[in-house]
């Protein structure tokens, strides 16, 4: 059991990183990574929502959709759950934890359309994970996203001072450097817990 959990975590953070090997969540990854501070905020918000969404969607899938034979509605159900969840989290944080809200608040609405969140709940179903495994996969997948976005933001802060062809201004140079980071993450492939 424990080795399974460790294997899932290691895979989600390093070997099968959501961004560098599965391409899930690229839009916020490229959009919110110009500064390390914003990247950290976005990363934390994603960890939080991915963990919660994995837990709630697992319960809904297992105890509502499967018994009713409505598994074909899973995409629709999951996206509604995620949208509602994000709204609730936003309202809850605003009222009870204002300090956290001021740190994460502006990133929350963006998360609804983050494909890493919908992706992780769909992958949980596809991989037949149980409740604990789903939550672990959600949280560690989020951590992998955070690691990637924070690393990338630090790279981008330096790109600002680099000299590159004019046409590569903006997104293209970011994509090229993200590619190099992906190459570095390939070094983790093959790590295995026996």
């Amino acid at each position: 059991m424990l080795t399974q959990i460790i294997a899932i975590s290691l895979g989600a953070i390093l070997t099968n990183n959501f961004i560098f090997s599965q391409f899930l969540g690229c839009c916020p990854f490229l959009g919110c990574s110009s500064k390390v501070d914003t990247a950290t905020g976005m990363g934390l918000a994603v960890v939080f929502v991915m963990g919660l969404a994995s837990a709630i969607c697992w319960v809904i899938y297992t105890y509502v959709l499967v018994p009713l034979g409505l598994t074909f509605l899973n995409t629709l159900a999951f996206i509604l759950v995620i949208a509602a969840l994000v709204q609730f989290v936003e309202m809850f944080l605003k009222k009870s934890v204002p300090s956290l809200y001021s740190a994460l608040g502006i990133y929350l609405p963006l998360i609804t359309t983050n494909c890493a969140v919908l992706g992780v709940v769909l992958l949980n179903v596809q991989n037949h994970y149980n409740f604990l495994e789903s939550v672990v996969y959600g949280v560690t997948g989020g951590l992998g996203f955070m690691l990637a976005i924070v690393l990338f933001a630090s790279v981008r802060e330096r790109i600002a001072f680099a000299d590159y062809p004019e046409s590569f201004e903006g997104f293209p140079i970011c994509l090229v450097s993200a590619g190099l980071l992906a190459l570095a993450f390939m070094g983790f492939s093959g790590m295995k817990i026996v």
């Binding site: 949208a83 494909c115 090229v176």
Partner: protein, 233 residues
């Protein structure tokens, strides 16, 4: 809004991937064979067109406060329909694209077009917008696939074309493609995630280069007659 202008916008000047810079996850993830690229592009085209038509048809009766929620429901509906149809009729494509078919729901292209275009335009205009934006997306996917497949494994049309018994199209993804040079000489790194990032980066850079150049030419063309006038004066 004339159709010609929409066509140009969708394919070039306002191309969803290369200019609006949205919907990039799938663009980088699945463009390893032509089969995947064409399949994904056409799926998005169909879903985008359907959603555009429905959203613009109901644009006057939906309350503004919950419009995004309604858009999401409509999009998720069409995505599920396409997903089920693919599973039933082209299972190979469904298996190859995997989780990226349901993820079309959160593809910014579709919700972006609904919000930016269909809300303000007629059904007809939205229909053509869907087709042309979808075509623009498909073209980018196809270019990405062709480049990555050719440089990565020396092939063209993997999964879609079979040449072992004469030239034919395979819709079940089994075709080996046309081998242009031996796969061993290919830079197989382009088939990895790294290749996705780099290829898309270079494509966008190329687009920026071309757009900047055509803009400069236009400016020069506008300037030229003025200079002539001055000389005459």
């Amino acid at each position: 809004m004339n159709i010609k202008k929409q066509f140009k916008e969708g394919l070039i000047t306002n191309n969803p991937v290369l200019v609006q810079l949205i919907g990039m996850c799938a663009t980088m993830a699945i463009t390893t064979t032509l089969f995947n690229g064409v399949g994904m592009g056409l799926s998005v085209l169909v879903i985008l067109t359907c959603c555009n038509v429905v959203v613009s048809a109901i644009r006057k009766i939906i309350p503004d406060e919950i419009r995004l929620a309604i858009f999401v429901v409509v999009i998720a509906g069409f995505v599920t329909i396409v997903d089920l149809l693919l599973q039933a009729f082209i299972p190979a494509l469904s298996a190859a694209l995997g989780v990226f078919i349901p993820l079309i729901v959160v593809n910014c292209i579709i919700i972006g077009r609904a919000e930016a275009f269909c809300q303000k335009n007629t059904v007809g205009a939205s229909f053509f917008d869907g087709i042309f934006q979808g075509l623009g997306y498909t073209c980018v996917l196809i270019v990405m696939c062709v480049v990555r497949e050719f440089l990565g494994s020396g092939r063209f049309g993997g999964g879609l074309i079979d040449v072992t018994n004469g030239f034919r199209f395979t819709l079940d993804g089994t075709g080996g493609g046309i081998q242009i040079f031996p796969a061993d000489y290919g830079a197989s790194i382009l088939n990895l995630p790294f290749g996705g990032f780099i290829t898309l980066g270079c494509l966008i850079a190329l687009m920026q280069f071309a757009l900047k150049r055509s803009k400069k030419k236009k400016e020069e063309a506008e300037k030229a007659p003025q200079d002539e006038e001055k000389e005459v004066a």
